[in-house]
Amino acid sequence: MSTASTPGVVRDAVDDPVKTGPSDGPRTRTTGHRTGYLLYVAGKLGGAAVSLFAILVTSFFLFRIIPGDPVKAMTHGKPTSVEQMATLRKQFGLDLPMWQQFTEYCAKALTGDLGTSYQFHAPVGELIAEKVPATLLLTGVAVLIYSTLGLWLGTRSAWRHGGLGDRINTGVALTLWSVPSFWLGLLLIIVFSVGIGPIPGMFPSGGMESGNETGFAHVLDVAHHMVLPVVTLVAVGYAQTLLVMRSSLLDEMGSDYLTTARAKGLRDDLVRRKHAVPNAMLPTVTMVFINLGHVAAGSILVETVFSWPGLGGLFYQALSVPDLPVVQGLFVVFAGAMILMNLLADLLYPLLDPRVGR
């Protein structure tokens, strides 16, 4: 850092010969940078707000394209009179004209009320809040693990690219990446939950808890239930971080500044950690944040195979009715999470690479 700022000061002095006073130089530069960053942040925040509003509006119309009558779908196969159906339509507000439904939805959404679910007769906010912890826990832990693992292995692979380790690493990661997650999940259930041959059944085959434990035993119980789904998500997911990290580090490998760093006498390990990796981080950070954005959406397939009570399952179930308020609410939440993560990544870029945002 100190090496970067020294030439900056020198350049300032050279580039700006008409100075009003000797002490004004550095102050102007700092204020200018701060204003620049603030402008950059304001721009990004404004963009995020506009996107969020657009999503709020889109979500209403998008899901009304799905064919199907929610009332008919919900009552199918059950003796139901025409009067009962009419009452349900009235309860759901489906008897109102479209524009009226839309204005009511907007008015409510602005106050944070996402409506009431058709099938569960409960506020959508409550339903989502009920399932968010499970999804955040599962996908959050998985993303954390596979990002770290991918970063680490990717760095190793690139640094010794072409070697046996690199080939094995990339080969295994790519193979696992091309495996369908539901299939891998089922395989893990058969091998590690039911048990095959000498391998005993060690893990539960589904769910998030057995429901009998409390306190710390409960935490352990949840952790026990999490092992197989997390392993599935990590196995299928870590390849992307690995590959992106590997290729962006490879791009940096031939750079002159690395030779300079080595010429300064830095150890190979330090050259990698202090010089190469930070410069190769930008694309990987984007990738990690996009993955974090996906955390909220969960993983429908893995949640289904392991009967994990998360948002992915709720979304699928709501789509099949279609339970419009729930689908709309989830869409806003998923998109919101994505926007938020992108925003965070945008805000982080200038800190990682000072060239961004100037």
Binding site: P204, H218, A263
Partner: protein, 640 residues
């Protein structure tokens, strides 16, 4: 290539490494905190008694031979996949929810497990007045609510009155009370229901009776889901103790149940959203029972130890429906159904070219019965078969003759063409989620293709839109039939048609036939069982002859349970019936635990050792990782 110069100082890496360690440590703490705050703190309500009953340390000292739950509870675990939409009997529509209400609340009547005839439930006997308009039910005096209060006729009267006066309480079961004029309870054992017009289904009122003293406190029935306070007061064989959305529903036996308490200590409905995972859980012994198996799953489980596959006659029919020209009650036609299908000969020809035997053998792989009448043979009193001359059997030659007769001759290209010279091409609506629809569709394409008829199989995720709009020629149709057939018959009456083309009616397939309607009206008021049965059979005969519906098969209910957990259990029908979705609580109420059971409950307790093992393994892996990372670094340093 690169000249490596030895480091000038060792201070920097040390500082670097310790900073790295700090970062690691703080990261780990932060992760643990996040995880801790995110993990819900478990079933807090029943926590106190259960914590005492099932201490975590118990399994460690428990003998290896008996891997039962710490307290040796006999748990019956049933795998389910459908979400509970509500625990309020006034709102719930899903089969899982309504099946659970059967276990927790008495209905006025019940169905005999042998042959599904009506037997006493909450009511011990019943009688109708001479004018058929007043029904008097005698309510049993030995039924108590699980909170100790007596269950009386007053509770039943309140339940029905609530549904009659509050539209929000009528959403789930309002159809049962739409013909009620007045419901009173003159005393604790007498319930009097006055009707607007006679109703033959009065002994099939499948409405859970709720405790008045609990439910009268509810303000808004459209929003009350009954899932916040446990246990839920009921008077059935089981009481709901705990519920977690899409995770489990836990029930305890009602020791005071008048018919006798269930034998298991606990009944748990546990969620397995994926059927293969549920099958794995059954193999492992995590669950005692799985339903809705595919032929492949049933075959795989057939050879497994301690597992019995139950392949029982189902309550569904799988049929072909033809669009009879969609119409509204106001007489207006709509939709784009093929005109050729209005000709009875064409419809008959299509049905003659359907080989039911092949469908049962190839598509259902033997797990179905060839279709005949509308009501499945499981309900043997109402089951009807076409007589010899009436039968539309598999006869492609006859089909060809019928088509010739209808004016659709084969052209030189082998295609049937109408008088207008246009080839005969039909569309069939298929459920994209149902593999049977798709497979049968392929066979129909082949069979009808040989006749010279083209068929386009339109598989959609949601078939209800084109169906309700009458935009189809044929469709795959299927309904689950109740012991009382009134509803499945009512959906083919003119009264079920939509009021206008813009409305939605209760109709299944837009059928409107005067003769069928007359018979329906007669059976609806016929209180004599034998006479009503005869009328129902006549209706099926008429439905068969009009040829708008043709039942191809009655799919079996294929399910499996662990014999080392369940010693005996009552099927319905008793001789060779199924366990899941019975009309009554017979299966779960009658189930007797096997000796030495416990695998079912092992999930709750036996995990401690495993968890410790896994924890140790995780620590070892992390430690090894760090060790190798550091070693690698030091080697690099040494090298430099």
């Amino acid at each position: 290539m690169v000249t490596r110069i030895p480091p000038r100082t060792t201070r920097q890496p040390t500082r670097q490494r310790s900073r790295f360690r700090h970062f690691l440590a703080s990261g780990a703490v932060a992760t643990a905190m996040v995880a801790g705050s995110v993990i819900p703190l478990g079933p807090l309500l029943p926590a106190a008694p259960q914590a005492q009953a099932a201490p975590l340390t118990a399994p460690r000292t428990a003998p290896q031979a008996a891997p039962a739950a710490a307290d040796g509870k006999k748990v019956l675990t049933v795998a389910v996949d459908q979400s509970i939409d509500s625990l309020s009997p006034f709102l719930a529509q899903t089969l899982v929810a309504t099946s659970i209400f059967r276990l927790t609340n008495e209905f006025l009547t019940n169905y005999d497990p042998k042959d599904a005839h009506t037997i006493p439930g909450f009511a011990t006997k019943w009688a109708s007045s001479a004018d058929k308009l007043t029904w008097t039910f005698t309510i049993r005096s030995d039924s108590k609510w699980s909170d100790g209060k007596p269950a009386t006729a007053e509770d039943a009267a309140w339940t029905f009155n609530k549904m009659m006066t509050d539209p929000n309480a009528a959403t789930a079961n309002g159809n049962f009370t739409s013909n009620f004029k007045k419901v009173t309870a003159p005393d604790a054992t007498k319930l009097v229901i006055e009707l607007k017009k006679p109703q033959a289904t009065m002994t099939a009122l499948d409405v859970p009776i709720v405790p008045k003293h609990v439910w009268e406190k509810v303000d808004d029935f459209s929003k009350f889901n009954n899932d916040k306070k446990f246990p839920i007061v009921g008077n059935g064989p089981y009481v709901i103790e705990d519920f977690k959305v899409d995770q489990y529903i836990r029930l305890k036996p009602n020791k005071d149940f008048w018919r006798g308490a269930p034998k298991f200590d606990e009944l748990v409905f546990r969620y397995y959203k994926d059927k293969d995972a549920a099958v794995a859980a059954l193999q492992k012994g995590e669950v005692s029972f799985v339903s809705g198996l595919t032929p492949a799953q049933a075959a795989a489980l057939g050879n497994a130890d301690n597992i019995k596959v139950n392949n029982a006659p189902g309550r569904r029919f799988f049929a072909l429906a033809t669009n009879p020209g969609a119409k509204a009650k106001d007489g207006k036609s709509f939709g784009n159904g093929h005109k050729a299908l209005l000709d009875q000969n064409v419809r008959k020809a299509l049905f003659h070219a359907v080989d039911r035997k092949t469908i049962v053998e190839k598509v259902f792989q033997g797990n179905a019965v060839e279709g005949q009448g509308y009501i499945p043979p499981r309900f043997d009193s109402y089951f009807w078969e076409p007589s010899g001359s009436q039968t539309i059997d598999y006869d492609p030659a006859k089909a060809a003759t019928l088509l010739d007769k209808a004016g659709y001759k084969k052209n030189s290209g082998g295609k049937r063409v109408g008088k207008d010279g246009k080839p005969l091409n039909f569309r069939i609506l298929c459920h994209a989620t149902d593999p049977n629809d798709k497979a049968v569709g392929k066979y129909l394409q082949e069979w009808w293709g040989e006749l010279g008829i083209g068929l386009k199989v339109e598989c959609l995720d949601n078939v209800s839109d084109p169906w309700l709009a009458g935009n189809y020629d044929l469709a795959f149709d299927g309904w689950s039939v109740n012991p009382d057939p009134d509803f499945v018959l009512s959906i083919h009456t003119c009264a079920a048609l939509p009021a206008t083309a813009e409305d939605t009616g209760a109709t299944d397939n837009f059928i409107c036939d005067k003769k069928f309607d007359d018979l329906y009206a007669k059976q609806a008021v016929e209180y004599d069982t034998a006479k009503r049965t005869d009328l129902v059979k006549q209706m099926q005969s008429r439905l068969y002859d009009t040829g708008y519906m043709n039942v191809m098969a009655y799919p079996n209910a294929v399910e499996a349970y662990r014999t080392d957990q369940i010693k005996s259990i009552t099927t319905m029908p008793e001789a060779a019936g199924n366990l899941w979705g019975q009309d009554g609580y017979w299966s779960w109420w009658s189930a007797v635990p096997a000796d030495g059971t416990g695998e079912a409950s092992s999930d709750s307790g036996s995990s401690t050792g495993t968890i410790i093992g896994i924890g140790a393994a995780a620590v070892v892996v992390v430690a090894l990782g760090i060790f190798f990372a550091i070693r690698r670094r030091s080697t690099a340093e040494d090298r430099e």
